[in-house]
Symmetry: C2
Subunit: 531 residues, 2 copies
């Protein structure tokens, strides 16, 4: 192939020819054909250049003002909006996610909204949790890590979780860390477009052009060399459990911080009272959540639990009906499709009962029928880990428990998850069951929902998109919800006996902007310190 047909990578603020060992193409999931742009698989010299450029900007970025980083985000959001149509079209081409409402009216607005939230948080300043003990003159705040952050992004959100302009990108840069982004191979063209816009925005505000760099692909050996490099401080990974665990192991052994979002089945418990009241509408609600984005959400309800009584049977019948609905969507890649087929076979072999679906939908593109399995509580408990591997795509397993005691046993057998939902009525019976189920579930999940499906993750201060292992690698951190998500990429910077004029402005006696919250001698305050 001719070298000049291969897409360039972004190193040191310049689009450069990659030293590629191979090339790849993205798929158009709607017709199942490869898109004809060639993207490089980088060799070590590319990575080495990126690391070297990133190292040069570690201190300049750390010293850049929060104002300037905020300006970058404001400019970025504006410029993304100017090219909205183009971005949406490109993401649609590579993922076949619907333009409306998904890409244009849901994901794109969230993309620019979260960038602007990050900008506002930087301008306001409270995110850094400035803490000041005046008597001893000890002061601390969060600040940058002193190394690069490597971002691996997932295939399912081409915009809001993109390794460029997505949540991890803005969190790492907000704190003042250089970013090296690896594109997801499902949507390299989208990542390139976002990178072009972000690079121009960087230049516009005079931040170092190497503040972020972008590489499309590399093999696992090079990956391990990258993530263990002395100048790397942290890694953010969202993707398959298998790859994530390997990256986690290698990077943590080298002393790096690793934030992995690995897998989650997002259990939903339906208590007996509510099933008696509204089985039909609940079935509709569940189906909508399971098939949102063709089930390619990390918060997809992959496991539902209810009692196998009359109301439960009626609910199951409703589910069987509605799972026959043919959705119009596509899976983002042939790999997702293949994995789904394999998992369906595995579920069958493990003696879960296939109730609906389980097959490809014939015709062009990567399509799979909504799939419903069921299993008795007793059998689930015998091999509960087997049935707790996340399956991407429109597949859900119903666990039919013989009584409430068995429901609690199922809850006890759960692994760590991003979310756990309980649907219940206001009846005394359901409240009593809830009061016993909640303490079990609470310790297994990051976000606990009542009468609400887990898909749909609002970007708001109290949101938590995280959970105990193996959902993520640290249950104290969130990847969605600003400014909390910044803290993954922050070190605590303490100043002991440092006079006022040598302190960063956030910790000086005068409140830097009159509105930043600071914890002064145990009291949150927006005031100045009078010494």
């Amino acid at each position: 192939m001719k070298h000049d047909l291969i897409e360039p990578i972004l190193i040191g603020g310049k689009w450069q020819k990659a030293e590629s060992s191979d090339v790849f193409q993205a798929w158009n999931p709607a017709n199942g054909e490869k898109i004809d742009r060639l993207f490089p698989v980088s060799s070590w010299p590319d990575i080495e250049k990126a690391l070297s450029e990133a190292e040069k900007v570690i201190r300049p970025l750390a010293q850049s003002s929060a104002e300037k980083r905020a300006d970058f985000f404001f400019v970025l959001a504006d410029w993304l909006e100017k090219r909205r149509e183009e971005i949406v079209a490109q993401a649609h081409l590579e993922t076949a996610l619907p333009v409306e409402p998904r890409l244009n009216s849901v994901e794109f607005p969230r993309l620019v909204n979260q960038i602007r939230q990050a900008a506002e948080a930087l301008k306001e300043g409270s995110w850094c949790q400035a803490t000041i003990d005046t008597k001893l003159n000890i002061r601390a705040k969060y600040g940058p890590l002193g190394g690069s952050v490597i971002i691996f992004s997932p295939n399912n959100f081409p915009l809001v979780f993109n390794s460029v302009c997505g949540g991890d990108f803005i969190s790492a840069l907000a704190v003042g860390n250089p970013v090296i982004a690896k594109a997801n191979p499902s949507h390299p063209g989208t990542t390139k477009l976002l990178s072009e816009i972000a690079l121009e925005a960087l230049k516009q505000v005079n931040l170092p052009p190497a503040s972020f760099q972008m590489i499309y692909h590399f093999n696992s050996e090079i990956c391990f060399q990258l993530i263990t490099h002395p100048t790397v401080a942290a890694i953010a990974f969202t993707g398959s459990r298998q790859s994530g665990l390997k990256i986690k192991e290698v990077a943590e052994k080298a002393g790096k911080l690793v934030y992995c979002e690995l897998s989650s089945v997002n259990p939903v418990f339906f208590l007996p009272g509510i099933l008696k009241e509204k089985a039909t509408s609940l079935a509709t609600e569940l189906f909508a959540s399971c098939t949102l984005g063709e089930g390619q959400f990390c918060t997809k309800p992959g496991l539902i639990v209810f009692q196998n009584d009359e109301a439960g049977q009626q609910f199951l019948n409703q589910l069987k009906k509605i799972f026959h609905t043919v959705t119009g969507g596509y899976l983002v890649s042939p790999q997702v499709l293949e994995k789904l087929k394999t998992e369906v076979e595995r579920f069958k072999n493990e003696e879960a009962e296939l109730l609906v679906g389980g097959e490809l939908i014939p015709g062009p593109g990567f399509r799979f029928a909504p799939t419903l399995f069921s299993i008795e509580g007793r059998k689930f408990l015998q091999k509960s880990l087997t049935f707790q591997t996340e399956v991407f795509g429109p597949l859900t397993l119903a666990v039919l428990v013989k009584d409430i005691k068995e429901m609690f046993e199922v809850a006890c057998a759960l692994n760590g998850n991003l979310t756990g939902s309980v649907y219940l009525s206001d009846s005394k019976e359901d409240e009593l069951i809830y009061s016993q189920l909640e303490p079990i579930l609470r310790l297994k999940v990051g976000r606990l929902l009542n009468n609400k499906m887990p898909t749909g993750v609002a970007v708001t201060a109290a949101m938590h998109h995280g959970g105990p292992f193996p959902a993520t690698s640290h249950p104290g951190f969130t990847s969605v919800g600003l400014p909390a998500a910044f803290l993954r990429f922050a070190a605590r910077h303490c100043y002991d006996n440092v006079p006022n004029h040598r302190l960063p402005i956030e910790l000086q006696n005068k409140n830097p902007n009159g509105r930043m919250w600071r914890l002064i001698d145990g009291e949150w305050s927006r005031g100045d310190i009078k010494i």
Copy 2:
């Protein structure tokens, strides 16, 4: 040996005979002889019992009120005070740290003070960072991990860092996690005494007696089985880099949270101006810090950097004089002594120049002469990692740089450290050097000090005792400073669409005590929420 002479371990709230594979004795460092109590090295059945008992209390502890856990701490502090003499005497016997001022007037007061600080923080409640978005009804706070916390404590602080009643213990329990404490083999008798008191305090307030358990020792194979057990959530380790890294690797691979404090050389930079002004008093100050606790502090200045000019030479001469002072102290174990001897030989072999000390002090007990090495900046830079291994004991390496440029190079070559200090005058010259040195040092250390030695770590809200790898395993967390230290053992618990009556009291509309700070729609407030 007769089984009934071996000290019992604390499992499930009862002092039980250990299933020991071996026994060990602690040393009296003052006479170099073994103390005649026998402590067991536990086999797996002991650990299994402890894990099983801990598992039973995970949920009861998680559901216990913060008030009750605070009461436990208040009772504990009172009861420790009642047995102060006995505790101090026991710690003195096993460590030979001076009764006055160290154990009785510094460490013991800090022990009870930090326990009471933890109690106050629990009563007040702000530690959990309750965050409430009223419009969407999404609410979050920190809560327990849902598994046990295993604590490995260091040899150098028999009270405040003891795995029972010390900082990690109170942090893990404050959040509501069960603790399994491993005694440090240097002071098992002290740990037993603290355990006896803590157990009675638990019973007094009706917390589950298995809330904490204590085991003296086990081999590394059993250690790895313990820390990777499914019911374990987190590990706190303070000790040698080698053991810590192994524990970190094994536990993290199994998805556990690991907080290691591994090693730190705590660089101190002396700028030219201040050396001209007060070389003599600085030498005295440095020597006091280097030999505090016989240099067995994790914040001991192990590396000092200054310019090899006239003032620098004068400073070095002062240091040489004062390092000849014979301190009266002891090293806590023969292992520390042996390691120190080995490291002195290694420094010599690596061509650092031995200026003072470097030898055992003859006579009974574990004593070593204050030791000062020097090396040229150029040579240091050639093998900087070699000279950045922490050496426990009264040893310091002076790096003599030829100019300020070389001083910056030394700073750039530094690994992550707990602290970094700069001594400077108010002269323009020093301020200018500082403005260039600070951005380098800031990203390498947790706590940055001006004109102050790093030893002496105040337990206060803004304190940060942590730092970039390899000082610790996560630069965002601190092991000293309350309530920040709690957060190492906390998961974020988010509630989405959960009605008021099902929320934990910290997140309900009414402020639970009228004084807890909560972040409500972006504003820190002590008020109720009006819906």
